[in-house]
């Protein structure tokens, strides 16, 4: 096989690893999420209930690590050298090592709870490698050539995904709440978790990513400092990131310190999530921020 087609195969293997590990991530997320159980008003977890999700997660991790390994080997074959020549190759090797170490530990001890953070970390590494560090590839404009931007973008993407997941859960809560008020859930909705579990779940999702979102905003500021000469300039994108941050801080306060639960909390959660969507849609499409570098 030519080294060119080997390189293509390597890329496909890495893409596949990315997809499969993403599935592992969601399986593990569900494993934690759906295990929330209510015992006499007090929330606790029942992991026996979600064992299947955990198993799927593990299977996907194994598959992902195999794809990742194949990607490294093919890359080395195509380049006729050890595949550790640049940042991209370091990253895919690093994520493989990390994933393999986790699987090794999993075989020896009961550490499936590590599946969630491990899948996030490998996703981050592989995602960064493919989108930013990959070479040879179409070049990036100079302002985007920054590790901080890569970190910032991946953190923001994960936070955004989780915010949207929390929104989905909150919306489900509101719909089911409405149904129960009108006389009960229809048959298909009976398998969904209880209202209390959904309420807890959306909170846990937000509480889990709020620090990551904070980090994403700060990483963006660090990058802006090195590219634009100021860490904060109230660019529309920055402004709306701040608004999202404030909205979720208000949500957490409302829950933790004021004791909001249920319907009101769900609406607040939806509101906060919509500020994120607004940023994504409005500012990207109609915004006036500094997205291109060449002009003044």
């Amino acid at each position: 096989m030519s080294s060119r087609s080997l390189a293509y195969l390597s890329n496909y293997a890495i893409y596949s690893a990315l997809v499969v590990i993403a599935i592992a991530f969601f399986s593990h997320a569900f494993e934690v999420a759906f295990s929330v159980k209510n015992v006499e008003e007090k929330t606790s977890f029942d992991f026996a209930k979600t064992d299947r999700w955990g198993r799927i997660g593990t299977a996907m991790m194994v598959l992902g690590v195999i794809f990742n390994f194949a990607g490294i080997v093919l890359r080395g074959l195509s380049a006729h050298r050890v595949p550790w020549g640049n940042m991209y190759e370091f990253s895919i090797t690093g994520s493989f090592a990390f994933g393999a170490a986790y699987l090794y530990a999993l075989a020896k001890y009961k550490v499936r709870w590590l599946g969630l953070p491990v899948s996030i970390a490998t996703l981050l590494t592989l995602g960064t490698a493919i989108t930013v560090l990959y070479r040879p590839s179409a070049p990036l404009v100079p302002a985007l050539k920054s590790t901080w931007l890569a970190i910032h973008v991946s953190a923001a993407i994960i936070s955004g995904g989780t915010f949207l997941l929390a929104n989905t859960v909150a919306a489900t809560y509101l719909i089911l709440d409405r149904m129960e008020e009108r006389g009960g859930r229809p048959e298909w909705a009976k398998r969904l978790p209880s209202l209390e579990a959904l309420d807890q779940l959306s909170y846990r999702l937000v509480a889990f990513v709020f620090p990551l979102w904070t980090f994403a905003v700060i990483a963006g500021a660090i990058w802006a400092e090195s590219a634009w000469g100021r860490y904060w300039g109230w660019d529309p994108k920055e402004t709306w990131a701040f608004i999202t941050w404030v909205a979720y801080a208000a949500y957490l306060h409302a829950r933790v310190t004021v004791g909001w639960r249920g319907r009101r909390a769900a609406w607040l959660c939806l509101f906060a999530g919509s500020t994120f969507l607004f940023n994504y849609v409005y500012v990207n499409i109609w915004g006036t921020g500094r997205h291109t570098y060449s002009g003044l």
């Binding site: 929330v36 015992v39 007090k42 929330t43 606790s44 977890f45 179409a138 070049p139 990036l140 404009v141 100079p142 302002a143 050539k145 920054s146 807890q200 509480a207 889990f208 709020f210 620090p211 904070t214 980090f215 700060i218 500021a221 660090i222 400092e225 090195s226 590219a227 634009w228 000469g229 100021r230 860490y231 904060w232 300039g233 109230w234 660019d235 529309p236 402004t239 709306w240 701040f242 608004i243 404030v246 909205a247 801080a249 208000a250 957490l252 306060h253 933790v256 310190t257 500012v283 915004g287 006036t288 291109t292 570098y293 060449s294 002009g295 003044l296």
Partner: protein
């Protein structure tokens, strides 16, 4: 006298209101809402030309918006007011809590309550207090042993983290204010070959913090040696911008060659010099009817698109009547029927200068500031139009213009922000504090010896943090196995 007490009571009441958490959260939300207009309307500090266009297009609403400071949102009095109130409110509510928390850390857990059956996970089990204490110790609870009872507590990291987070918010606010009050920020457009000396008069625009003195600018001088933009021939995307300067710091010292790139500014202490933008400056010579040179030199043009089609204005006030050239510079000229003339590549391969010649009054001395990239043609008449290739001369009757060549300009942004590092430190601490606060679980466990020799166990989890019941269950298993 009573009045005095009355005032003091009112003040104390006001202080308590201001520093209540509800007020802080309202202020926080308000700050979010207040930042919205700045993202909807153009801002003077980001894009003054857009503000001018907006005001011209919306005369009456523009006036109202202007009086509300909607074009200077982030430096407006109302935005600052919310910011300062939030700052005071945070200090007022977080500092006392921090002191309280520090005192509480050294103390023992509170006494075991009288009735445990109202607490969470209440249960009666067999066992003895000593083995319960062993389990609690092993699980790193802080323990208060009394006659016939144990009170244990764990998870102070939660409150510590929470306070750390709120304190670092204060630090960030201080750092931002520091940057605004003691920093400076300015821009200078320089052609290759120019020298920049860091004094206020060298800047095209420069803003100082309120407490920053003009003499405090860092002493350095930069000579622009070379600028190189590299483009990808396939995608036309810029690959790299590299600016080479000879930098003398302080002024008068021996110059060193330095490279400035987009993501790597030149740093002197808290002052950083950024490569912010670049473009072309066509070089022209303008002569009057008699052939006397009335203008000669490079004029900075403003890039309009990714292929650096650039527009600009060449103004010749020294001719009578005055002459203005509304111009475009095309680094690689191309032409189609639909689009007319445009640039098809950002590098200079086939340069062309398009000029439209206007005669009349340039309006330079009516006091209104003018854009250097535009000619105010309201009192002028067009007398010619021409696309010039390199070294070509165009005679427009009143005189002539020659397209001599081009230079490259760079826009340097020079920023002094002494608060930056504190803001970064605040950010890092905020994240650490948040994680401790969100993932920490504070809970208490009590064990009481009944008169019949059985033990009562129960607990309490702050903010109904999950996991307490599992913990109690494992304590129970431990006690039963020891029996």
């Amino acid at each position: 006298m009573t009045e005095q007490i009355g005032t003091r009571a009112t003040l104390r009441w006001l202080w308590r209101q201001l520093t209540s958490m509800r007020t802080a959260i309202m202020l926080l939300l308000l700050l979010g809402v207040a930042s919205i207009p700045g993202s909807l309307f153009p801002q003077r500090n980001q894009n003054p030309l857009k503000v001018r266009d907006f005001l011209a297009a919306h005369k009456s609403t523009g006036k109202i918006l202007e009086s509300l400071k909607f074009f200077d949102v982030y430096s407006s009095p109302w935005f600052s007011a919310i910011y300062i109130l939030l700052f005071i409110s945070l200090i007022g509510c977080v500092l006392p809590r921090t002191l309280e928390h520090i005192k509480a850390i050294g103390k023992q857990p509170p006494l075991t309550p009288k009735f445990l059956d109202r607490m969470e996970g209440y249960e009666q089990v067999g066992g003895d207090l000593d083995s319960a204490q062993v389990w609690l110790k092993k699980n790193r609870f802080r323990i208060r042993r009394e006659e016939g009872s144990i009170s244990a507590e764990k998870g102070y990291t939660r409150e510590s983290g929470n306070l750390l987070f709120h304190l670092s918010l204060i630090l960030i606010l201080v750092a931002v204010a520091m940057g605004g009050l003691f920093g400076s920020k300015g821009e200078a457009i320089l052609n290759v070959g120019d020298t920049f000396v860091n004094t206020p008069t060298s800047y095209d625009n420069l803003s100082f913090g309120k407490f920053q003195r003009e003499g405090s600018l860092r002493s350095f001088a930069l000579h622009i040696d070379a600028f190189k933009a590299t483009y990808d021939p396939a995608t036309r995307a810029p690959l790299d911008y590299k600016l080479t300067v000879s930098a003398a710091e302080p002024i008068g010292s021996k110059a060193k060659t330095q490279i400035i790139k987009v993501n790597s500014p030149l740093t002197y202490g808290s002052t950083k010099i950024y490569l912010q933008a670049n473009g072309y400056s066509p070089v022209v010579t303008v002569r009057d009817k008699k052939g006397k040179i009335t203008f000669q030199g490079a004029v900075e043009f403003l890039p309009q698109d990714a292929n650096l089609t650039s527009i600009g204005a060449i103004k010749v006030p020294d001719m009578n009547p005055q002459i203005g050239f509304v111009s475009s510079f095309l680094p690689t000229a191309a032409r189609t029927a639909q689009r007319g003339a445009f640039s098809s590549y950002p590098d200079v391969l086939n340069p062309q200068l398009l000029v439209s010649v206007w005669m009349g009054n340039l309006g330079l001395d009516n006091g209104n500031p003018q854009s250097v990239y535009r000619v105010d043609t309201s009192q002028m008449r067009r007398i010619g139009l021409k696309a010039l290739s390199l070294h070509q001369l165009y005679n427009f009757g009143e005189g002539s213009i020659t397209f001599e060549g081009w230079e490259q300009w760079v826009n340097l942004q020079i920023v002094d922000d002494p608060g930056k590092l504190y803001a970064l430190l605040g950010g890092i601490l905020a994240i650490l504090g948040l994680m401790a606060s969100l993932f920490g679980r504070q809970r208490r466990i009590w064990i009481k010896l009944r008169e019949d020799g059985e033990l009562e166990i129960a607990g309490l989890a702050k903010n109904s943090a999950p996991g307490l019941l599992e913990e109690l269950k494992s304590l129970k298993t431990h006690l039963e196995n020891r029996k």
